[in-house]
C-alpha cells in the first residue's frame, strides 16, 4: 500500500513524498503528546476507580454479558473490559484506549496468535457503541445545521446493528476457524 502510494507519487509529484511523510510523523508526535496529557487525566481517574473498588462493582454488573461473549474466566481482564466498554459508550474514545490495552495484555496468551477473546475485544472496539456522537453534532452545528442532533437516532440504530453483527460474526468465524483447524489436524 505504501509502496503503491510512493510509485503513484513518483509519477505525479515526487518532491511531495518526503515532506508529507515528515509532516505526518511530526503530526503523530504532536498527537502522542496530546494523548499523553489526556491519558494522564484518565489514568489518574482510573486509578481512583480501581482503588476505591468501583471498578470491581462495575465489572460485577457487566460480568454475565462479558463472560458469555468473551468466554473467559479472569476477574482482572473482565474488570478492564467492563471499564473499556463503559468508556466507549460514553463516547470517550481516548479514555477507553489505555483500558483496552490493559485488557489486551491480560488476554494475550503469548503465543503470537490472537485468541478468541482478543479478537472479540478488537471487533467490539472497532464497532464501538457510542451513545452520544458529540464531536459530529458539534461539527454539524458549526456548518449551520438547523437541527444538528437529528442524526442521533439513525446513528444509534446503526451502531447497535454493527455491534451485534460484529459479535455474531466473531462467534461464527470462531466456530469455523475451530472446525477448520481440527480438519487440518486430521
Amino acid at each position: 500500500m505504501v509502496v503503491g502510494s510512493l510509485i503513484a507519487l513518483l509519477c505525479t509529484t515526487p518532491e511531495n513524498a518526503l515532506s508529507s511523510m515528515l509532516n505526518a510523523s511530526a503530526e503523530a508526535l504532536t498527537l502522542s503528546i496530546e494523548l499523553c496529557g489526556v491519558y494522564a487525566v484518565w489514568l489518574g481517574v482510573l486509578e481512583l476507580v480501581e482503588e476505591s473498588g468501583l471498578a470491581q462493582k462495575l465489572a460485577r454488573l457487566l460480568r454475565p454479558f462479558i463472560k458469555k461473549v468473551f468466554k473467559i474466566d479472569d476477574v482482572e481482564a473482565e474488570k478492564y473490559i467492563a471499564l473499556n466498554m463503559s468508556a466507549n459508550m460514553l463516547g470517550l474514545g481516548n479514555a477507553s484506549t489505555p483500558l483496552g490495552i490493559k485488557a489486551m495484555k491480560r488476554l494475550d496468551d503469548g503465543s503470537g496468535v490472537a485468541n478468541y477473546a482478543v479478537i472479540m475485544l478488537i471487533v467490539i472496539n472497532a464497532t464501538s457503541i457510542q451513545l452520544l456522537p458529540s464531536t459530529i453534532i458539534g461539527l454539524r452545528a458549526n456548518a449551520g445545521s438547523l437541527s444538528p442532533a437529528d442524526i442521533v437516532l439513525p446513528t444509534l440504530i446503526s451502531t447497535f446493528c454493527t455491534f451485534a453483527l460484529g459479535i455474531m460474526l466473531v462467534k461464527l468465524f470462531g466456530k469455523l476457524h475451530k472446525k477448520w483447524r481440527q480438519r487440518g489436524k486430521k
Binding site: 489486551m104 479478537i119 464497532t127 459530529i136 461539527l139 453483527l165
Partner: protein, 168 residues
C-alpha cells in the same frame, strides 16, 4: 446537557474514593504517572499509520480507489460522494473528521449526503488504528479474522446508515 455528565461522574468518583478512605491525590498521581510510558509505547504505531495515510492521500491513490469501487458502493446504496470517507475511516480519525467537515460545507449540513456522512462516522471506528494501538503492548502478530470481521461491520454500518437517512 452532555456537558454535565463527565464532571458529575468525576465528582461522584472523587467522593466515593474519599468515602472508601482512598487518598485521592496520591492515587491520582500514581495513575497519571503511567501516561508517559503508555504514550511512548504507542507513538511508533501512530506515526506509522499516519505516515501511510498521508502518502495515500497525497498520492491521490484513495481518490483513484474511490473512483474504482464507487460502482459497487453505489449498488449497495452508498452515494459516490461518500466512498472516499468510507475508505479512509478505518485508518484515521482526524482525517475522516476533516473529510466530514468538507462534505458538510460542500453539500450543506442538512443535505442527505451530509446526514449520511455523519451517521457513517458515528457508527464506525478507526479499525486499523484501534487494532495497532491495542495490540502494541502484546506479542500478538497474527490477528486471524479480526480485521475482516471489523471491515464487514463497517461497510454494513455504512449501508444501514444510508438507508436509515432516507427513511428518518
Amino acid at each position: 446537557m452532555s456537558g454535565y455528565i463527565i464532571p458529575a461522574i468525576f465528582i461522584a468518583i472523587f467522593c466515593y474514593a474519599k468515602f472508601k478512605k482512598v487518598n485521592p491525590y496520591d492515587t491520582f498521581v500514581k495513575g497519571a504517572k503511567k501516561a508517559i510510558p503508555l504514550a511512548v509505547d504507542i507513538f511508533p504505531f501512530i506515526a506509522t499509520i499516519m505516515i501511510a495515510v498521508a502518502l495515500l492521500r497525497e498520492s491521490g491513490l484513495t481518490a483513484m480507489l474511490a473512483n474504482a469501487v464507487s460502482p459497487i458502493f453505489n449498488l449497495l446504496g452508498i452515494p459516490t460522494q461518500l466512498v472516499e470517507l468510507v475508505l479512509l475511516r478505518p485508518f484515521t480519525g482526524s482525517g475522516s473528521y476533516a473529510l466530514l467537515n468538507d462534505v458538510l460545507l460542500q453539500y450543506g449540513a442538512d443535505s442527505y449526503i451530509s446526514r449520511c456522512a455523519c451517521v457513517i462516522l458515528g457508527c464506525s471506528e478507526t479499525i486499523f488504528y484501534v487494532t495497532a494501538v491495542y495490540t502494541s503492548g502484546t506479542k500478538i502478530k497474527k490477528l486471524l479474522y479480526a480485521i475482516p470481521v471489523a471491515l464487514i461491520c463497517a461497510v454494513v454500518g455504512a449501508i444501514i446508515a444510508c438507508l436509515l437517512c432516507k427513511i428518518i
